[in-house]
Structures are given as structure tokens and as C-alpha cells.
């Protein structure tokens, strides 16, 4: 079988490979791929104390909140008709399209799709509506409430903005949503259903009500007393839970031959997509489910474990989750696990939930640029239960790896693993 298309049947589609030709990022670390990667390279965390108007009585102390000025991104009153999550999505998508050089006006847009991921969709709009109804007993809501709050609004706005009329899908599998969007978009291009797909995800749920929900789960890290930016400590003995973030990331995925024919930048080739469900518990991670997803991604790519040169871990910094993931990595990679650099960039940009997979793919592909591997910030005292080859605090420069892996493991037991190879 042709490498990278092992799951495809039929000869007509076997040679279609999927290239990443553009990446867009909106994050607390910066609102461009260059700023995002520059911050990752310096090991700088964007986590900070949340202002009172955001956290209110929720008790949540820190988050990776974006200083977002809609007027810098949208004309006139346009932003007023877009939930914050859709604003992030449009900004990231615009960057990805521009970077790819793909001109929608000169492309058969019936062959270009949008596959998007988000956990909570228009959470700000929904919360505003509920606070009006329950808080003020006022049932007169904005007419755009439904179309701003609905889960598919972010992706649909992207499709409308650029007239992308090909296949559309919106994934909502919590923390694996946008990784799944990228994986499924890859399958759609391979199978011939589309020639290009703008794939990614966004999240914007730093609202008092959502924060209260998260806080009651008792899974969020308290503020680091000495340095709030250091509150998220994946794989560290002192870790106290995850830190929520917000933002978006978008990848322009294109059938490789078409992308090369038009002279597009080829940033990476997506060759492996693993997707499994733990099917054992709503929130407790399961080693075997994670192993199945990583194994499937490796098998599909045709790579040996030792071919992977960097793993961007799910690494949320929860007590249980980090240990399980490291066990799963050791189980899949065996001896190679001691040599493959693993880091969790959530330590710097926070957990984007539905947007995490896409943003972390943008981080995972970083070594293909200059061989620079992003670190796990705030990792000082490594938990022996998290024994893998870590990249603590400082980025490492090495040879450009042949392939990288990005893990996204979600509440509900959904596990998605993506593998990309250098172009």
C-alpha cells in the first residue's frame, strides 16, 4: 500500500496526499503564527490573573486571556454580529488563507471546504442571553442570539466570508474537536471529496458562568503565588491542574499535487490520523484508548515509532492526566520514548479546549521550520510518574525531524492523534 494512505481503498485516491500550506493563529501568546512561535521559542507563558469582570464569583484565578480589540480586525459594526469565538475563527482563517497564497476568487470554491472544531461555540452570546433571562427576568433577546450562539457559527462564518462551498463539518468533541476537524479534513481531501479544506478550531468561553462550571470540576490550577504566569505546570510534581485559554488556529490543507502546481508553500504533509474512544468514563483518561489512537496514527502514516522526532503532548497538567499520557507514550514508543522530545505548550498558551488541537498542531509543526522544539514552561521538578524525554523550560534546537505527533485527548473519552511529516 502507498505510504500515508493505508486506510484508503481503491487506486484512484491512493496518491492524494494532504499538505499544510498556511497556518493562522489567534492566541494569548500572539495573534500571528510568527508571534506565537516566537513566544513558544522563548518559553514565555501568557497565563495571568483574570480580571474581576471575567472571573466574577467563579473563584477561577488565572487564564490565558487574549487582549482582543475587535475594531482592529473588523470594519464598522461587523464584530457586533459575531460572537467572540467567531471573531477569533475569522481572524485565524484569514491568516491561514493569506499565508497559503490560495486565492478563493481564482479557485473552484465548490472544491474547498471548511472543517471546524469548537467545544462550546458562542459561549459569550449564550451566557449573555441566559443572564438576561434569568438575571433580569427579561425575555427580550437579541434576534441574532441563535445564529451567534450556535456551535457551527464560527466555521460557517468562515465559509461565508470566503465563499468556501465545498464540504462543511463542525466537530464538537471537547478538547479533541479541532484535531478531529484536521484529521477528518485530511480524509476528505484524500478521498477526493475536496481539493482543499480550511481546518481548525476556536474557543472563547472565559465567561463567569463557564468558569464557575470549570471551577466546580476541581480541575483548574490555582494561581502560582509568586508568578501567576507559571500557574500551569505540566509533568511537574507541583502541578495543580489545567489553565483555561482562548483563541483559534486554522490550517489550510490542500491536495499536495495541486498545492505544488500552484507554487504554494508546503509546510508539512499530514500522514497519520488516529481516532479512538476510551468508552470507559466521561472525564477520567484511559491509557489504552490513547494507545489505540497513537498506534492507529502511526500505522496509517507507515512510520516507525523512532521516526517521530517530537510529540506535542495533550499535557493539561492535571494530576492524573499527565501520568496516563506518559504511560501511553511509553507503551507505544517503547525504547524510543526515552529519546523523543515531548512537551506541553499548554503551559504557555493555556488549554484552548475545542481550539487546542489546531493551535497545538501549529506548535507541533514548529520544528519543521528551524529545528526548534518548543518547551514545557514551568517544568522544574519532573514527576517520576511522567517519565518521558522532556523539554523543560527552554526550547531545544536540533535537526529537523522527519515527523511530529500531536495528541488531543478529550472529556467524553475522545482521543485524536495527528502525525505530520516534513515536506
Amino acid at each position: 500500500m502507498t505510504k500515508g494512505t493505508a486506510v484508503q481503498a481503491g487506486t484512484a485516491v491512493q496518491l492524494r496526499r494532504v499538505a499544510v500550506t498556511g497556518i493562522g493563529v489567534v492566541s494569548a501568546l500572539g495573534n500571528s503564527l510568527a508571534d506565537f512561535r516566537s513566544a513558544l521559542a522563548s518559553g514565555r507563558a501568557a497565563v495571568r490573573r483574570l480580571p474581576e469582570e471575567v472571573t466574577r464569583g467563579s473563584g477561577v484565578q488565572v487564564g490565558a486571556l487574549i487582549d482582543w480589540d475587535p475594531a482592529a480586525h473588523f470594519k464598522g459594526n461587523e464584530a457586533g454580529s459575531l460572537d467572540r469565538v467567531a471573531q477569533f475563527a475569522l481572524a485565524a482563517a484569514g491568516q491561514a488563507i493569506a499565508a497559503s497564497g490560495l486565492d478563493p476568487e481564482k479557485t473552484d470554491r465548490n472544491r474547498v471546504g471548511v472543517y471546524w472544531g469548537t467545544g462550546m461555540g458562542g459561549a459569550n452570546t449564550l451566557e449573555t442571553a441566559y443572564s438576561t433571562v434569568y438575571g433580569k427576568n427579561d425575555f427580550r433577546l437579541r434576534p441574532l442570539t441563535v445564529v451567534m450562539a450556535m456551535n457551527n457559527a464560527a466555521g460557517s462564518n468562515v465559509a461565508v466570508r470566503w465563499g468556501l462551498r465545498g464540504p462543511f463539518a463542525n466537530f464538537s468533541t471537547a478538547c479533541s474537536s479541532s484535531a478531529m476537524a484536521i484529521g477528518e479534513a485530511t480524509l476528505a481531501i484524500r478521498s477526493g471529496r475536496a481539493d482543499a479544506v480550511l481546518a481548525g478550531g476556536a474557543e472563547a468561553l472565559l465567561t463567569p458562568g463557564m468558569l464557575a462550571g470549570w471551577q466546580s470540576l476541581r480541575t483548574l490550577a490555582p494561581a502560582d503565588a509568586a508568578d501567576p504566569a507559571a500557574s500551569c505546570k505540566p509533568f511537574d510534581k507541583r502541578r495543580g491542574g489545567l489553565v483555561l485559554g482562548e483563541g483559534a488556529a486554522a490550517l489550510m490543507l490542500e491536495e499536495e499535487a495541486r498545492a505544488r502546481a500552484r507554487g504554494a508553500p508546503i509546510l508539512a504533509i499530514i500522514t497519520g490520523y488516529g481516532n479512538s474512544c476510551d468508552a470507559v468514563h466521561m472525564s477520567k483518561p484511559d491509557r489504552d484508548g490513547q494507545v489505540r489512537a497513537m498506534t492507529q496514527a502511526l500505522a496509517e502514516s507507515g512510520l516507525a515509532p523512532a521516526d517521530i522526532g517530537y510529540i506535542n503532548a495533550h499535557g493539561t497538567a492535571t494530576i492524573v492526566g499527565d501520568v496516563i499520557e506518559c504511560e501511553a507514550i511509553r507503551a507505544v514508543f517503547g525504547d524510543a520514548a526515552g529519546r523523543i522530545p515531548v512537551s506541553s505548550t499548554k503551559s504557555m498558551h493555556g488549554h484552548l479546549l475545542g481550539g487546542a488541537g489546531a493551535l497545538e498542531m501549529a506548535a507541533a509543526l514548529m520544528p519543521f521550520g528551524e529545528g526548534l522544539i518548543p518547551p514545557t514552561a514551568n517544568l522544574v521538578d519532573i514527576d517520576p510518574g511522567c517519565a518521558v524525554r522532556h523539554v523543560p523550560q527552554k526550547a531545544e534546537r536540533g535537526d529537523i525531524p522527519r515527523a511530529v505527533m500531536s495528541n488531543s485527548f478529550a472529556f467524553g473519552g475522545s482521543n485524536v492523534v495527528l502525525i505530520a511529516e516534513r515536506a
Partner: protein, 81 residues
């Protein structure tokens, strides 16, 4: 300021319409106002004038001049004129 002038001002502010091109008798679609945009605009109009335009009346509004008549009638009925 009369009702129509206030509606025009609101349309310029909320819908980014060109003041020079607002024809009160032009069909809403000709002003680039689609049905969803119009319903959202009506929400602002109701806030601005403190009136409530019924669903039935809403369906009969085809231009800004129609809107003015309904707003004026609603305001009068509410004793606000």
C-alpha cells in the same frame, strides 16, 4: 429630530449605510438590508423609540418609510408621541 431622521441616523450607525444613498422609499434589499439584518435592526429601533412592533406589522415593512409609519403609530398608541 423627527422620527424618520432618527431612524436614518440609527441605520447609518448600526448598518453602516451611506447617508447620501438612503432612500426612505427604497426596498430594504436595495439598501443591502437582508431579513436577518432587518430583524436585528428592528430590535435596536424598538430600544431607541421604546416601542414594540408586532410580528404582523414587521412583515408589512418594506422600506424605511414604512418603518417610520409603524414606529410613529406604535409610539402614539403607547402615548409617547
Amino acid at each position: 429630530m423627527d422620527t424618520l431622521a432618527r431612524i436614518k441616523d440609527l441605520a447609518i450607525k448600526e448598518l453602516a449605510l451611506d447617508p447620501a444613498k438612503i432612500d426612505p422609499n427604497a426596498p430594504l434589499a436595495d439598501l443591502g438590508i437582508d431579513s436577518l439584518t432587518f430583524i436585528e435592526f428592528m430590535f435596536k429601533v424598538e430600544d431607541e423609540f421604546g416601542v414594540k412592533v408586532s410580528d404582523e406589522d414587521l412583515r408589512s415593512i418594506k422600506c424605511l418609510a414604512d418603518l417610520e409609519r409603524h414606529v410613529a403609530a406604535s409610539a402614539q398608541a403607547a402615548g409617547k408621541a
